[in-house]
Each structure stands twice: as C-alpha cells, then as structure tokens.
Symmetry: C2
Subunit: 319 residues, 2 copies
Amino acid sequence: MNLMDIYQELKDDIHVIEQELFRSIDSHYPLIEEAASHLLKAGGKRIRPVFVLLGGKSGVYDIERLKHVAVALELIHMATLVHDDVIDDAETRRGKPTVKAKWDNRVAMYTGDFIFAQALSRITRLSDPRVHQILSKAIVDMCVGEIEQIQALYQWNQSLKTYFMRIKRKTALLMAISCQLGGLVCNAPEPVVRALYRYGYYVGMAFQITDDILDFTGSEKQLGKPAGSDLRQGNITLPVLASFRNPAIRDAIINEFKSGSPDMPKIINLIKQSGGIHVAKTIAQRYLEKARRSLEDLQSVYSKKTFIQITDFIEQRTY
Amino acid sequence: MNLMDIYQELKDDIHVIEQELFRSIDSHYPLIEEAASHLLKAGGKRIRPVFVLLGGKSGVYDIERLKHVAVALELIHMATLVHDDVIDDAETRRGKPTVKAKWDNRVAMYTGDFIFAQALSRITRLSDPRVHQILSKAIVDMCVGEIEQIQALYQWNQSLKTYFMRIKRKTALLMAISCQLGGLVCNAPEPVVRALYRYGYYVGMAFQITDDILDFTGSEKQLGKPAGSDLRQGNITLPVLASFRNPAIRDAIINEFKSGSPDMPKIINLIKQSGGIHVAKTIAQRYLEKARRSLEDLQSVYSKKTFIQITDFIEQRTY
C-alpha cells in the first residue's frame, strides 16, 4: 500500500490543493517561479494537506476553507525545506538537485522567504484570528527549533529531552497544527480539535524518529544521500543517543569524529550493534500507539480509518 | 535638527514601542536573543514606527493598536536587514559587526526568520483582516524585490524603470504601508489613508535614492563601509544609471569591471563628473515634492508639520 492509495477518496480535493500550490508560486518572475516550482514538482508526500483535509472531516467539511489552510501549511513546509538546504549545504533533496545547488544560497534564502510570504498571504483569506495565532506561534517555535538545531550540532552531551524538543519543533508541531486547524476551520468540537492536535503531534514525532532511523538503515539510493549523513553533519539523532548508553561505543564514535575524518560505515555499524536502532524503533512505536489512541475521540469513521492507515504506513515506511 | 528632536512629542510612545521590540525578541534562547538584540541595540532611525504613529494622528489615535503595527513593521524591517547581511556578505552595518559576521550565515538566516515570525505573531493581535492582507501582500512584494535585486546585479543594460521598481519594493513599500496602516487602524477617512500611503511611498523612494547617492558621496567613516560599495557588489543604482547617459563614461565604467579589479575611486570620480549625482538628486527632490503635496489632504496639524520636518530632514541628510 502506498500513501496515494490511502488518499484515494481525497483525490479531487488534493488535486485542487496541488493547483493552488502552483498558483501560489506564480509570481510572473521567471527566477522565483523556476526556483519554487522546481521544488514543487519534486513532489513530496503532501502529508500536511492530507492531515488538514482529514481534520476537516471531523467538522462540517468545507474545502473552500480547508484549501487555504492546506496550501499555507504545505508552503510553510516547503519554505523550511528551502532554508534547510541553505543550512545543510545539501546538494540533493528527494533525489533532485536542491534550489541552493542549482542557483545559490542567496536565491535559495529569498525563495524560501517568498514561499513563506505567500503562505501568510494565503492564510489571510481566513478571518478567524485563532488560525493566525496558532499558525504564527508555531512558526516562531519552528524558527527557535532551527536555531537550537544549529546550537546542538556536535554536542555529544545533549540529553534525550533536547532531542525530543528539537524534533517536536522541527516536524511534529506543523503536523499537529495541520490536523488541528483542519478541525478548527470546519468547526469540529473542541475536544476533537485537541485530539486531532495530539494525533498530529504523536505521529509527527514518530515520523521524524523514523526519518532519523532511516538515515542509518537506508541505502544511498533510497535516501538520495549517503547513509549517516545527518550524523556526518553533526546532527545527533535518537539512534546515536541511544547507542551512547554503551560508554565504549560512545567513546569510539566521538573519537572517530575527533580524528577529523570519521569512518562513517564503521560508525553506522557501531550504532547498529549497540541496539540504538532498536531502541529508537521502540520509542517510535510508542508514539504511534499514542497517536492511535488519540483517534478514539474522533466521530468521522472515514477520517479515523484513514488516519489509522497513515499511522500504519509510517510504522512500515522504509523510505 | 536631528530626527529625535522632530519626534519629541512622540517620545513616550516611541519608548513603549522600543520596549515591546525588546520583548518581541525575548525568546529565552541565548543565541537568538544575543543575535537579535545585538541588532536591536544597534539602533536605527525607527522611521517606520514614527510613520505608523503619525499615520494614527489622522484618525482616532490609539497607541494600544498602533504599537502592534509599529512593532511588526520595525521587526519586518529588521528581519530584512538580517537577511540582506547574509546576501551582502556584509561585515558591518551601522558601524557594528553584522549578525552574520559575528555568528554565521545559518544563524543569521534563522534569526531573520525568527524576527519575521515574531512580527507576524505580533500582528495577529489585531483582528482587522485588511491589516493582514496589506501586510502579507507587501511582504510578498518585498521578497520578489530581493530576488529581482540579485537578478539585476551587474546587469549594465537595465532600465531606469527596473531600478525604480526595485527600490519601491526594497524600501518605499514598507514606508508606504507604515503610514497607511497607522491611519487604517485608527479609522482615518479613506482618502486620508490613501494620501498617507502616497506620502510614505514618495518619501521612501527619495530616501532610497538618497541612500544610493550617499554611497558615492559619503566618506568611509560616515557610511561605515568604503564609498562605492553598492556598485562594487554589482548593485547598479540611480547615479550610475544616470551617468550612463554619457556613452564614454558608461564604457569606461563597464571596462573597469571587465578588467576584474575595478578601480573604485576612479569610477566614483567618473560618476561625479558625469553629473549622475546631480540627476539623482533632482529626481529625489521631485519625489520629495510629491511627498509634500500628498500631505495636503491631512487634517492633523501636528502630523502634517512633523511629516514636513521629516521630509526636510531626508532632503538634507548626509548620513
């Protein structure tokens, strides 16, 4: 089963959103359009828009309102990808050259700003001040998360708590408010909106942990970059932190980095041997369980069923 | 006369805004705070907040509403400064080391994003959807302007129209909406709000042209960077474009750049000899005249008087 099969029933509405996404980056300026549509065409899972739509199913489903939220959230996600590429010195994303690699850092930064601004412009079509407040607060938190992530690079002594806080800001928060805002703009009952937020949060945490596991277990072909790239760039994720419970492995890994030219295949093996991957998988599964339990309060049979399928998909995903 | 003398009557309200600006960047994260407050402490003319307050004088002046607009607009201005520093590889701004130079590009980019997000968060305190629409549309345009500016670097054949469009997006637009939104949130009559917008736009155009002139006529000490820095970095401004009316001077300047190591003092002299500075000054003065004429519809004697003083200040400014 792949994600698009799960979304089948939402196909027409996703198509509407896809068109609006392209319209949003239609600036009449060739450089911007090329840079932004380049990213848009690279695709992506469109999980956030789907979460918005599914959230809406718990209220009085209204695609005319939902589409603005969905487009805004996907654009915000895209803007962060563009800015992450500037940071990461990433040369490819989703197997395609990044905006940064194809043009340069400056254009990438302003393309990110532009996409971000379009997201905000889009959300002004909704007058409910709660939407703007939730969104802007989340964006502030996401920015804090990005700066924290820089600060945490190569910080071998960071706590698990730091890691969880970081991935909340980096990934889970936007997924949480995707579900939440979908419910909110369709006037779903308050406890349901809260349950939607929780679902998005838990599933987002699991999603990011899975990403962090795949960085070690995936092949270069699947990942579109060499395995261990996150750690190579100083990003210390859950499998690494879990492996550090074994002091010998911790020392061996840190020493590899201190040498100046870390042997990544060796480090990846150490992490695998340590059981760090297994620990991370267990934690991801616990989040997925919590996500499933959050769905109990939902009334919409369709959205409950679909959210469960998405949860299962994230549990099994290998790319 | 300096700007702060002009603002005397607004002193208390500017103080409120200054405090709120500091509160806005109070993130409890040392790195962000240091990076952002560093910029905040460097000061600046706070022209945009003053424009907001003066705009408010044309309606039912309400500092509780005006302060949110003023803080948001100044934060947006600051965010663009931070991102410009990433672009410009600038090592100093207002004589102090830039965020970029002191930390690095990545932190600068996300600090800009953070300040920007705080601006948006701040503006959600106002529920009038027109405010959000005007603001988000302006931000989109500003981002387009930034990308256009990159595209226009070293484009010797660009038209005057391109230049004027660029400085509108870069500078005049934010000043225009500062005046406009001040009037709008205090319920000034519609024709007055439009006049306020026009004033801000015209004065903003003159302000940027003056900046572009000073880049050639100022001393390194006044500018905080060597004279001719804009052109050195490929930014072709009005004095340069005006000097190109003389084909011999045009060829001489372009040839200097083609040589790979342009002799900036020589180029600056060529531009001065060409009369390019004089042409630019004349055009700036025309904009200032239009700005003054826009004030005719204003009812508030105080704001009219103050706007005129600011216009005179911009006419005479040498730094």
